[in-house]
Symmetry: C2
Subunit: 187 residues, 2 copies
């Protein structure tokens, strides 16, 4: 085995999600993941701090994509429209990861500790979205509300997307979820 494994991170991710899905997250060890990937534990730890990071590694990229979309929104966009401007790059980012997202969702749903971690990740993401709105001059409370609405819209659409067999539909599901949110909150 060569020391330089160009696709080691993705092989380890594939092996880990297969094992988590087959035998459960708790029952899977880093040694098993490395073995399934044909790599060493040492290589695993060069790419991931622990087995949980395999599942949460993408959250930084999700944050950056969403921010990029908000920052590109017109300066006069309403707060929720600015939040929704992040749905374009986010949908693009996920388009090629539908299979992974489906398995990942199944693994997280099966494990209370991972569900908590997911909740904390999404809360952190809401904080990042809120921060971007504050930088646009949106007042504190409006920014908090718009960020949490954005996260709820995201979560409902994403949950729908991983249940379906249509990788390209995420952008449309964001729009549907947003329209439904506007309908639910109209007086």
């Amino acid at each position: 085995m060569s020391r330089w494994e160009p696709d080691a991170a993705s092989r380890l991710m594939k092996a880990a999600t297969e094992l988590f899905d087959e035998q459960g997250y708790d029952a899977t060890t880093v040694a098993e993941i490395a073995e399934r990937a044909g790599l060493t534990k040492r290589t695993f730890f060069r790419h991931y701090a622990d087995k949980r990071e395999v599942l949460f590694n993408g959250s930084g990229q999700l944050e950056r994509c969403w921010l990029e979309g908000i920052e590109a929104a017109p300066a006069d966009a309403e707060p929720l429209a600015a939040v929704a401007a992040g749905f374009d790059p986010v949908a693009e980012m996920f388009a090629e990861r539908h299979a992974f997202a489906r398995v990942r969702s199944r693994i997280v749903q099966a494990n209370p500790e991972l569900q908590e971690r997911e909740l904390i990740k999404l809360h952190k993401l809401a904080g990042v979205v809120k921060g971007a709105l504050l930088r646009r001059g949106v007042p504190e409370h409006a920014a908090t509300l718009a960020a949490h609405v954005g996260l709820a819209v995201f979560s409902v659409a994403f949950g729908h997307w991983v249940e379906q067999n249509d990788p390209a539909r995420l952008r449309a599901l964001f729009d549907e979820s947003l329209a439904q949110m506007r309908s639910v909150t109209s007086a």
Copy 2:
């Protein structure tokens, strides 16, 4: 010390929150809480499973109050109006607990583990609110969105309330937060 302590639970709660606030949550032991309250550790454990429960003990009552309000809403109320119908009994429940809520909020904000616990509590509460909407015949996604909007409205108003010195204002803050939410989400 008599075995029967009629106000033991509230004395322990007072002692615990004082100590958490003075010296930090992590640094405080059950023995210190019992001592400050003039009670035994044994009495503490008759009332609370652990020191964290002193701070999270009220979440069942919050859930019941909110549910009661939703269930009393007119059958034809829109989902978010039904969620907001819970704000009446919830505000009433908190009216006499402003001092406790303020200290509790300070303690939770100072401790990442408690912040995570609070997040999980609020997520569970959103699930309870969603369940009440489903029982009213609200479709799945609308129920999820309305419940999360309700929780965001609640959290913003509550956060504002604990910063202020006006215990009776919570109901009005819920209305303000709800109006702001409707304004943020109007197209």
